[in-house]
């Protein structure tokens, strides 16, 4: 249950908050996913680099 206390938060302010926070959460999730994908992409590349280094020796 939401306790609103003595302050009327305003329907417009609540709706805007829900929309902006939704966008912000989507942005954060997108950023995290991108970082995760980038990490995955870097891992095989690093493995390839390491094998090349070993081969060079």
């Amino acid at each position: 249950m939401i306790t609103l206390g003595y302050l009327d938060p305003g329907a417009g302010s609540i709706l805007l908050q829900v929309a902006l926070a939704g966008l912000a959460a989507f942005g954060v999730a997108l950023k995290c996913s991108w970082r995760w994908l980038a990490t995955l992409g870097r891992a095989p590349a690093r493995a390839r680099d390491e094998s090349r280094t070993r081969g060079g020796r």
Binding site: Y6, G10, L15, Q17
Partner: protein
Amino acid sequence: MPSLLEPPAAAPHPPGPAARRDPASFRDPEGRVYRGADGRLYRQLHQSFAPHRRRLVESGLENALVEEGLLVPHEPAPLALRLTDEAVAVLQPRELPFLSYPYEWCFGELQAAALLTLDLQLRALEAGLTLKDASAFNVSFEGTRPVFLDLTSFETWEPGTPWVAYGQFCRHFLAPLALMAHVDPRLSDLLAVHLDGVPLDLASRALPLRTRLRPGLLAHLHLHAALVRRAAAAPAPAARARRIAPRGLVALIEGLRRTVAGLRWRPADTGWAEYEDALPYTRDEAAAKERLVARWLERLDARSVWDLGANTGRFSRLAAARGAATVAFDLDPACVERCWRSARAEAIPNLLPLRLDLAAPSPALGWAHEERRSLEGRGPAGVALALALVHHLSITRNVPLPDLARYLARIARAAIVEFVPREDPQPARLLAARSDPCAGYTEERFRAAFAGPFELLASEPVGGGGRVLHLLERRKDPS
């Protein structure tokens, strides 16, 4: 705080006859502020606040905020000192030397108070709490440092719920700051008219079109104003429709913080901030004036000093250096801003610059004209400094000298007042703009006017131009 976690004492408490509720403390039933019979300030806590206080204490947030100087410390006090029987605990908040109001702050002060509020909200969310209101009146200043006053603003946060004070924050802080930054810094005056914050539609209409190109202002102010207008007649959204991702709420508040921090106002040349450089003193004369004021401040040994017409706070610093809680008042926003920025950079702990028109000092405002106190209601100060001020009030604003003397005696126990003769370039310039001779502005009339409410302790000339400093003490029985 065991007194809060235990059931209330059974013994009924007759409220002390001299205890009086603070007229500004009536909105939130969870914590009433009042002045006890002993003259001290207290806050009583209601049972409904107990779970919130428990979390505030047990999470370590209250201690951390107090230690960092962000929250006014509250010491436990005996429950017997409560104002009403519904109290379960009594606390004694540390009282600030001078309670300032948002409509008296310069741009930098309002921005610092806004950032403090958002930082507290972010810290509160981490601890499973939230601020249930975000009024600018919850903040005041201790010197140049903003400090949060309202302990009972913290309440337990239910993850997934929005910030109920988001709209109030935008009205109290974002709208006036945007107007000050993008239109005119004097628009902080709007906060004295709109005590519950500047209406967002008003701010949105008054702001230039280019502010719609700034994503933060577009979202939190312009779009916000449009949604508030559209939803005014609509019922409150269903609980399901107002669920909010906790991570999203944090990101929203961080974005709001970036928007507030990104607002800039550079004090431009208003003519006043450079005023001191234009005064007809040589360097030696200016130094002699400083020495004299410092000597007289020492003699008066005042704990509080109000520097009226302080400009950028040159003489306020002398008072602050002597340990007096000093308030530097000036009408010009650029002067106040510069004074605040420099005092903050120098870490002067007891100098508070504020914006005030002494010809129309802050009145008593709010509910029943008691909620926000007038300037006089927050006095008297130990000493009022009125240096190079009288001619502005007397000649430009037509304040009669006897009225000025009486008012100074109401707001301060002693005063150091400078009289600038009409032949001096400053009054001469003001007199040249008038068609009447302003015959009442003479040193004789000045002395006669101040002789009623004050006793003249000393007077000494400063410089060769006929300026005279007067050291005055309020008469116990003014004639």
